[in-house]
Symmetry: C2
Subunit: 317 residues, 2 copies
């Protein structure tokens, strides 16, 4: 299942409006098919894996990160039906599909056709890998990551605004991979005017994975940009399951004030800046007691001399 | 030697004007004597360890974190002489004594008396454990640690100054142990007026290890405090080898501007504060390129939900 979840990551930032599912088909301890939801949502992971496995799917076990879809769609076949027809003997599912059109019916359909079904294996990890899809289903909005590149003392730039470079090439490359894993990036009007950021993915082989650009502003957005007037409007962004907030301090604060940050990506350089620009503006915190218990460290690593820390909102689980 | 260095830690913050040395005497794979420089500098580590070992020191190996002293003092015997007279067969030394009154002569004296001497084992670690003594000898000033208790976004307090509590009980207890390992603590006038800090060690069994209190200010210091007018004046503080800078932002910046911070102790809580007080004021940084390559991570650990990171200045080695 861990391998299937890893496969699901390949579709992230590409698969909307469909969830980025991963699927692995195993027969006699050998992988005979691998699939992940393709660009635009089709084919589904299961369809792709079954096409690889061909007749070897018969009697095999399929590992799927999300319950196979049961509802009819003009865009493609129902995966539950596909798996049953291919003669798969056992389907191991991480996460039950929260979409009410499937929601247990995919598993039931398979069981009725004599397929052994297990559900719940690594469900938490699968939900994290498809966090945007899950939030869309449960709260009607995309999953939001706030990215900050900080000095040890929490600065994102000198007082004059210069921020090239705080973090080194490894951290910047990692940040570009993160961009590719998101459907859209948000910046505020100040950042747009000051930095005129391209927000593209500058990594060989991933140039076509640059996410859409969204401006948080009351004024009009330039050509090639979408605009939202408030963080809450992200719910209306079409085909955006994973959203990255890249700055500046007021935009970060606006999302935090609205309770619309699910994940923090902190790239920290081993430098001190002193007087300079802070990464986060006023979030309306009146009492330190209210600041505690909200964030949980879920990943950390070294990136050259820099360090990455990933925190997830405790309440968004 | 690692055990001898650990022993040396027991005298830190107590042993001035003498270095906090550790000594272990081993005979037939058994520890027969342990010692560390006692309060006020006497007895020396070697004398204490030899007193424990008694006749078992004969033919034994002594591990000492610093070259045994050779120079005559009215305050006690010469350790090189003591070791030779006790019949110790072998002396393993981490660090050659930078004090010009010994500086290789202790080792030479031992060799002349037929004792096998090895020097340099874990010298870097020993130098770190006696960093204050080494800096006193080489630069004529104490070793300076800057402590900060920060939120993830680098704040040390809300905008109204409230900072109770950012870090949790484990981090605060650790900070009190660090206080006990220092001879004196510096704060600025703003911190004194705002927080009236006790700066004492509030840990059971260590109450008597509270360091001296030093005020960085142009105005007079209250009773029980010493005063310096500028960071450079720390060189004149009597019997201070290890100095802890605890705040606030302007005091931290003054020491950083003067190039007088050797070590950073960052206690980081998993909280966001947003608009609030920064930990470090203007350090006169005009170009980000100058900020890089100055700090190296040397230790990190979890303290409850908080994290401690220790950085050392690259140039002070």
């Amino acid at each position: 299942m861990a391998a299937a979840i890893a496969l699901s990551g390949r579709g992230r930032g590409l698969s909307t409006p469909n969830p980025n599912v991963g699927c692995l088909i195993v027969r006699h301890d050998r992988i005979v098919g691998r699939g992940w939801t393709q660009k635009g949502g089709r084919p589904h992971a299961e369809a792709q894996a079954l096409a690889q496995a061909m007749e070897q799917a018969h009697g095999a076990t399929a590992y799927v990160t999300l319950e196979p879809c049961f509802h009819l769609s003009p865009r493609g076949p129902r995966c539950a039906d596909l798996l049953a027809r291919a003669g798969v003997a056992r389907v191991v599912i991480a996460l039950r599909d929260p979409d009410p059109r499937t929601d247990g019916q995919g598993a039931a359909w398979l069981r009725e056709r004599g397929v052994t079904v297990e559900m719940g294996l690594m469900a938490e990890q699968a939900a994290r890998a498809m966090a945007g899809f899950v939030l869309r289903q449960t709260r009607g909005r995309p999953h939001v990551t706030l990215k900050l590149g900080l000095s040890l003392d929490g600065r994102i730039a000198l007082a004059d605004g210069s921020s090239r470079w705080i973090t080194g090439p490894d951290a910047r490359a990692h940040a570009h991979v993160e961009r590719a894993r998101h459907d859209a990036i948000v910046v505020g009007g100040g950042t747009l005017r000051a930095d005129a950021p391209g927000l593209d993915v500058r990594l060989a082989g991933l140039e076509d994975r640059s996410p859409r650009r969204v401006l948080l502003s009351r004024s009009d957005a330039p050509v090639g940009w979408e605009r939202i007037g408030a963080p809450e409007e992200i719910a209306a962004l079409n085909r955006v399951d994973h959203l990255l907030v890249e700055g500046g301090a007021e935009t970060a604060a606006a999302f935090l004030r609205a309770g619309l940050v699910d994940r923090l990506l902190l790239y920290r350089a081993p430098i001190l800046i002193g007087a300079g620009l802070a990464g986060i503006g006023d979030i309306g915190l009146a009492d330190l007691a209210h600041a505690h218990g909200r964030w949980r460290l879920t990943d950390e690593r070294r990136l050259g001399v820099d360090r990455l820390e990933v925190y997830e909102a405790v309440s968004s689980a």
